[in-house]
């Protein structure tokens, strides 16, 4: 395949050309209630070409028929030339990479019969249904894939990559009279068949929580000291801060650049944030991004000060900074854009755990898990999966409908205590941006305290 791509590169008349070809083998099993919804095996394949010429813009083609590769290389060049630009697009220099990088398949999912995958998921789904009669519905899904990716560019980079992935998710819907609640488990690993066994308890716990939430009161809306658990703190740093650190947000926008000036104080000295695409064994981990740049650990906030951002080659050149290996595409159907990998809040220097964060909180909210999060630049919203009130320094009653809303700058600045109990949260699903969803990412954090935050709920 590499030779085929090299031959196609040779005939390109563009100043810069890159080709990415992918072949993805995947299988999926889904249950809804006791019904098996699907059990399928799929093969998806296609190619992507991006061309750039001096004075031109990006010309992009994507296609499912690989026979069309030479035509598509020529078309990308024509499209690039059809875009006239006064200020040229430049790409930051990188060292051309030649590598065959096969990640450990950890029990190659391609060799496991579909029936065994069904059996595994049936057990997890059954564990949720068995919790209570109040669990009226479940959704459970298992998905695995192995992607072969070939990437070449006209600067000499030639990569062959093999990436496994397996994701499991379970939703339990509990209902009593008119009240409906849900519990959600989601696991995503850049691993294989060996990693997905013995997880019944995790599914049982979320189903039990959905049942417990039926009787829980809605949180009283208002402003509280809020402690985020590891999972929600991770989602928070990804959504509320991570997206602003993606340089495509600032590189064409002087006002945004000013807002995100390196050296600006973003939080108290306790706050350290980074993105590490090279962290071993995580779902957002990759040896190279989709421009062939090696991944790395990029500090974003150090001791409360903004010190870095995430780059593609284009954004790095525009800002006079170095590429960070964050240009990623979800598939051959899309161009690489600036994305996160494994984003984290580093453990606080003082260490400690939840107890240390709540011991002097008279009335607060302990917000746990994440149903989701969304940002509109400086404003964000997170829906915790569940919460507890904190009363007189102790975790008290279960509450539901805990939605955190706020302004990024104010909220980051109000983080006053970060525990030492760091964990990576290997969730399924993924990140969405520019029509590209779901991109595998991981988030990691310890327990984090926000002095004051707005919690939605009953007003």
């Amino acid at each position: 395949m590499k030779d085929r791509l090299a031959a196609a590169l040779k005939v390109s008349r563009a100043d810069y050309t890159e080709i990415r070809v992918e072949r993805t083998w995947s299988s999926a099993v889904t249950f809804r209630g006791r019904r098996l919804e699907t059990a399928t095996v799929s093969e998806d394949q296609g190619g992507f070409v991006r061309a750039l010429n001096r004075g031109g813009g990006w010309g992009i083609t994507s296609f499912t028929s690989l026979d069309a590769l030479p035509t598509m290389v020529a078309r990308a060049n024509q499209l690039s030339r059809a875009v006239r630009l006064d200020r040229p697009i430049r790409l930051a220099d990188t060292v051309p990479q030649v590598a065959d990088a096969a990640l450990d398949l950890d029990g190659d999912v391609r060799g496991i019969p579909l029936a065994e995958k069904k059996q595994l998921l049936e057990a997890y789904n059954g564990a949720m249904l068995a919790v209570s009669n109040a669990v009226v519905d479940t959704q459970a899904s298992y998905r695995d894939d192995v992607s072969e990716v070939w990437y070449v560019n006209s600067e000499g980079t030639a990569l062959a990559l093999l990436r496994p992935e397996v994701t499991l998710s379970g939703t339990a819907i509990a209902r009593r009279n008119g009240t409906i609640e849900k519990g959600l488990e989601s696991i995503g690993l850049r691993k294989g068949w060996r990693s997905v066994h013995g997880l019944e308890d995790r599914f049982r716990v979320v189903a039990q929580r959905a049942v417990d939430l039926l009787d829980a009161p809605r949180v009283q809306g208002g402003t509280y000291p809020v402690i985020l658990d590891n999972e929600l703190a991770g989602v928070f740093v990804h959504e509320a801060f991570g997206h602003l650190s993606e340089a495509d947000f600032v590189y064409e926008n002087p006002q945004a650049r000013e807002m995100m000036t390196l050296g600006r104080r973003f939080g108290k000295p306790v706050l350290n944030v980074g993105d590490n695409g090279a962290a071993p064994g995580l779902r957002g981990t990759l040896p190279f991004d989709d421009e062939g740049t090696p991944t790395q650990d990029t500090p974003l906030i150090q001791d409360g000060i903004l010190v870095g951002r995430l780059h593609s080659r284009e954004t790095a050149a525009a800002l006079g900074e170095r590429p960070t290996g964050n240009a990623r595409a979800i598939s051959f159907r899309h161009p690489p854009i600036v994305r996160m990998t494994n984003t984290y809040i580093a453990p606080g220097p003082a260490g400690g755990a939840l107890e240390d964060l709540i011991k002097d909180v008279k009335l607060g909210v302990y917000a746990c898990g994440a149903f989701g999060g969304q940002t509109m630049l400086e404003n964000f919203s997170f829906t915790a999966a569940w919460g507890h009130m904190i009363r007189d320094g102790h975790v008290a009653e279960l509450v539901k409908d805990v939605v955190l809303a706020g302004n990024l700058f104010q909220t980051l600045d109000r983080i006053d205590h970060i525990a030492g109990d760091f964990t990576w949260n290997q969730m399924g699903g993924g990140c969405g941006k520019g029509g590209q969803f779901p991109l595998p990412v991981t988030e990691g954090a310890p327990h984090v305290r926000i002095e004051q935050a707005l919690v939605g709920g009953d007003v």
Binding site: G57, R84, A256, Q374, G456
Partner: protein, 449 residues
């Protein structure tokens, strides 16, 4: 392709249906006012579903010249694990006529799309603001068939023009977004409406005012209604009903909403990209009233959920290349009438953006106009409860917009709020594949920091 595949499949299975689809997309993107990217995408694929031994299985491929024997074998293997299901493949039937392919869209050149984008960028340019514009034209070809002899096929076109104005002043980020979506190219009037819609929301947003607090009247614009309508979209799906999680289950024929409130789905709405003569499971298209004057009339089904619910498919089966068909709405029409006029059906309403709130602000002593909420779709949607911070909202005082509010959140339960609707706006429009006017709802919880 479909005939060959079904012939080959039927030799070894009890029944089958299949979809073949080709999509060609041409897209141009302007970033911060500059044309940066031009791209084309070509994608072809086949999706096959079989019933073998009374069980259902599916398989798909994007291979250029698919190995039909291998595809059928994969579908059969999938069926071996599948649950027993008495799937009723619909027989051949006459199809309604609906235009889905427009020459204007099909013949537009790359330069035409670039020119349109430039015009829009120029119209929206203003000091201190970044303008992003994306134009995408998609041409499709679809063929469906089944072992009961039904066949269908059509060509389609769709054009999406999205424009976004971003204004950053110190730490205040304001984003105003709108989209034209149609089966044909937008006319001058449509581009004008898009510009006006953005300008109308930008001007009053430049002033930031304190949000109000309490149980207040809130006007939801067609865009702002997403949070209110999403629970209904889920609850009216036959799948949610089957699973026992729809609050509307068992309420067919009952009044659940304001007596003026209606919801229907119309796959034959002219000029809409989601319109088609036949669904992806060979069921001929027909409009479906779902809620009529507050009374729940019907749920939407595809073949599978219809078989499970002992109902008939309403023609809402949609399938991708991989996986099995699922329920999807086509053109959802929400409001109290008047129904979209033929012109407004094909294109965006020309009145869009003339005044915010569609005439519903009058008489509001203190309240909100909500155009965008953050985090819609998160949380426990199907129960009807929602609570979101505002993305774009304005304070309404003594019947007039006094400025944009930030750091506020709205919450409520749609089943309570929609029992009594204080007003339907005169600003009905298409937004994506949904048509609705603004709605004024009373007693919405508004919280502020």
């Amino acid at each position: 392709m479909i005939d060959r595949l079904l012939d080959a499949a039927c030799a070894t299975v009890d029944g089958a249906d299949a979809l073949w689809r080709r999509e060609d997309r041409t897209a141009v993107a302007f970033e911060s006012g500059r044309l940066k990217t031009a791209g084309v995408t070509e994608e072809t694929g086949v999706n096959l579903r079989v019933v073998a031994g009374g069980r259902m299985g599916v398989a798909g491929t994007t291979a250029a010249a698919p190995d039909l024997v291998e595809l059928i074998a994969r579908a059969r293997a999938s069926a071996q694990l599948g649950e027993a299901l008495a799937l009723a493949f619909p027989p051949a039937a006459p199809l309604p006529s609906v235009p889905t392919h427009f020459d204007g869209a099909a013949n537009a050149s790359l330069d035409d799309l670039i020119r349109m984008g430039r015009t829009l960028v120029e119209r929206l340019a203003r000091e201190g603001c970044q303008v992003n514009v994306a134009i995408e034209r998609e041409l499709g070809e679809t063929a469906v068939g089944n072992s009961a002899g039904a066949r269908g096929g059509y060509r389609s076109s769709a054009v999406a023009v999205t424009a976004e104005v971003v204004r950053i002043a110190a730490d205040d980020v304001l984003t105003i977004y709108d989209q034209y979506l149609g089966a044909d190219l937008p006319g001058d009037g449509d581009i004008e409406a898009l510009v006006r819609s953005i300008e109308t929301r930008l001007e009053p947003a430049l002033t930031v005012v304190a949000p109000p607090k309490g149980a207040l009247p809130v006007v939801f614009t067609p865009a702002g209604l997403a949070a209110v309508l999403l629970p209904l979209e889920q609850a009216l799906s036959g799948r949610t009903v089957l699973q026992g999680s729809s609050p509307l289950a068992g309420k067919i024929g009952e009044r659940a909403f304001d007596a003026r409130f209606s919801v229907s789905d119309d796959p034959l709405a002219p000029g809409r990209p989601a319109s088609r003569p036949i669904d992806d499971e060979c069921v001929p298209s027909a409009p479906a009233p779902l809620v009529e004057r507050g009374v729940v009339r019907r749920f939407v089904y595809d073949l599978e959920t219809a078989a499970l619910a002992n109902a008939r498919s309403t023609g809402h089966g949609r399938r991708g290349i991989f996986g099995k068909p699922h329920i999807r709405y086509t053109n959802l029409i929400v409001g109290d009438g008047p129904r979209p006029t033929p012109d407004a059906q094909g294109r965006g309403s020309r009145d869009v953006g003339r005044a915010l709130g569609g005439g519903l602000l009058e008489g509001i002593a203190d309240g909100l106009l909500v155009d965008d909420l953050i985090g819609v779709g998160q949380g426990n949607v199907v129960g009807g409860g929602f609570g979101h911070p505002v993305g774009l909202a304005y304070r309404v005082e003594r019947g007039e917009i006094t400025g944009r509010v930030k750091d506020a959140a709205v919450a409520g339960n749609v089943y309570d709020l929609l029992k009594q609707i204080a007003g339907f706006g005169t600003d009905g429009r298409w937004l994506g594949s949904r048509w609705s006017p603004s709605l004024r709802l009373e007693g919405v919880s508004v919280a502020r920091r």
